[in-house]
């Protein structure tokens, strides 16, 4: 498939599916009863999905030379504690980046 066509297919299909997800309960199922099991399972979607999404960005892939880099793990833990107590994205970002930069400077590495 041609690269440009593939990119625009992704834009159109993912854009549409994301919009359907966003619209789902606001407009489409607004008057429908949701099965209790689905309601229960839905509660755990953000925690499971966001963790699955974020963890590889921090630890990398097992077997890689740079697997589980200590500075990123420590910085992520600091950011997690700040996020838990402040609920503030800007403070979380600041705490995480400053910790990472400090550790990288101390250890003389980028990674």
């Amino acid at each position: 498939m041609d690269g440009t066509l593939k990119l625009w297919s992704v834009v159109a299909i993912v854009g549409l599916l994301n919009y359907v997800s966003r619209l789902s309960f606001i407009a489409l199922f607004a008057r429908r009863r949701v099965p209790p099991l689905a309601v229960r399972a839905f509660r755990y979607v953000p925690a499971a999905m966001l963790t699955a999404l974020v963890l590889p960005m921090i630890v990398g892939t097992p077997g890689d030379a740079a697997f589980a880099p200590a500075p990123k793990i420590v910085a992520a833990a600091v950011a997690g504690i700040v996020a838990f107590f402040t609920h503030n994205t800007l403070k979380t970002l600041g705490a995480g980046m400053l910790t990472l930069w400090a550790l990288q400077a101390a250890l003389g590495t980028i990674g």
Partner: protein, 235 residues
């Protein structure tokens, strides 16, 4: 258009979202850099950020495009990563029910992690639905506008940003800011821990399929932990 732009609730929503927009700027830059690295044209990059309007889906899409993954895999992965919008939609639905269908359809497009968090705070503080809707529109529009600006900036600045800044790390930090405050109940922690172990353990799967698998396994784990907790507290 001018009438809504001078509306006090709209303006308040816009202004209150500016700190979150600033916090999302590095993430937007990384998305723009990724689109350029995947070989997208500037219009392709803008299409992705303006229409998909989800950092997680955009990052996954450009990584999988760059890796030459089939269209079906890219679409499935981005869809699963965007399933959390269904939850946000369900949570927003009662607040938006009094609004006209057009407003519901428009606001749904602007439903993102940050807009959702801000809207729930506002509505829980007892805002009138119509004022709350205009407030949501202001905040959602601010995010959309800043998101396009930072994505385009990232597209063109990709080679200028030094690697030593580790700008990429801003992406997981934005998600940590979203997910860490959830870790207050044992089923939620179970869902996250199991999903985290699964995503690393299954990283041998091709084309990031470990993300979908780990997400599903984590959701099942959270639900089972929820049933178990209920049985314990019922005793």
């Amino acid at each position: 258009m001018r009438r809504i732009a001078s509306d006090p609730d709209f303006r308040e929503g816009f202004a209150e979202m500016v700190p979150a927009c600033v916090a999302m700027a590095p993430f937007g830059l990384v998305c723009g850099v990724g689109a350029a690295a995947a070989g997208a044209s500037v219009w392709g990059a803008i299409g992705l950020s303006a229409i998909v309007f989800s950092g997680a889906a955009q990052i996954l899409a450009v990584q999988l495009l760059a890796a030459g993954a089939p269209l079906a895999v890219i679409v499935a992965t981005c869809f699963v990563a965007g399933l959390r919008f269904v939850i946000y939609s369900a949570a927003m639905a009662p607040y938006l029910r009094p609004l006209p269908a057009r407003w519901q359809q428009g606001l749904a497009f602007l439903l993102t992690d940050q807009a959702f968090a801000a809207a729930v705070r506002r509505f829980d503080a007892g805002a009138d639905p119509h004022a709350g809707g205009r407030h949501f529109l202001g905040g959602g529009f601010a995010l959309w506008l800043f998101w396009q600006a930072t994505n385009v900036a990232g597209y063109f600045l990709g080679n200028v940003i030094p690697a030593s800044w580790s700008l990429d790390f801003a992406v997981p930090l934005c998600f940590i800011a979203l997910v860490a405050p959830h870790f207050r109940t044992s089923p939620t922690i179970a869902a996250a821990v199991v999903a985290g172990i699964a995503v690393v353990a299954l990283s041998g799967l091709p084309m990031r399929l470990n993300l979908i698998a780990a997400g599903v396994i984590g959701i099942v784990a959270g639900t089972l932990a929820d049933f178990t907790r209920e049985r314990w507290t019922a005793r």
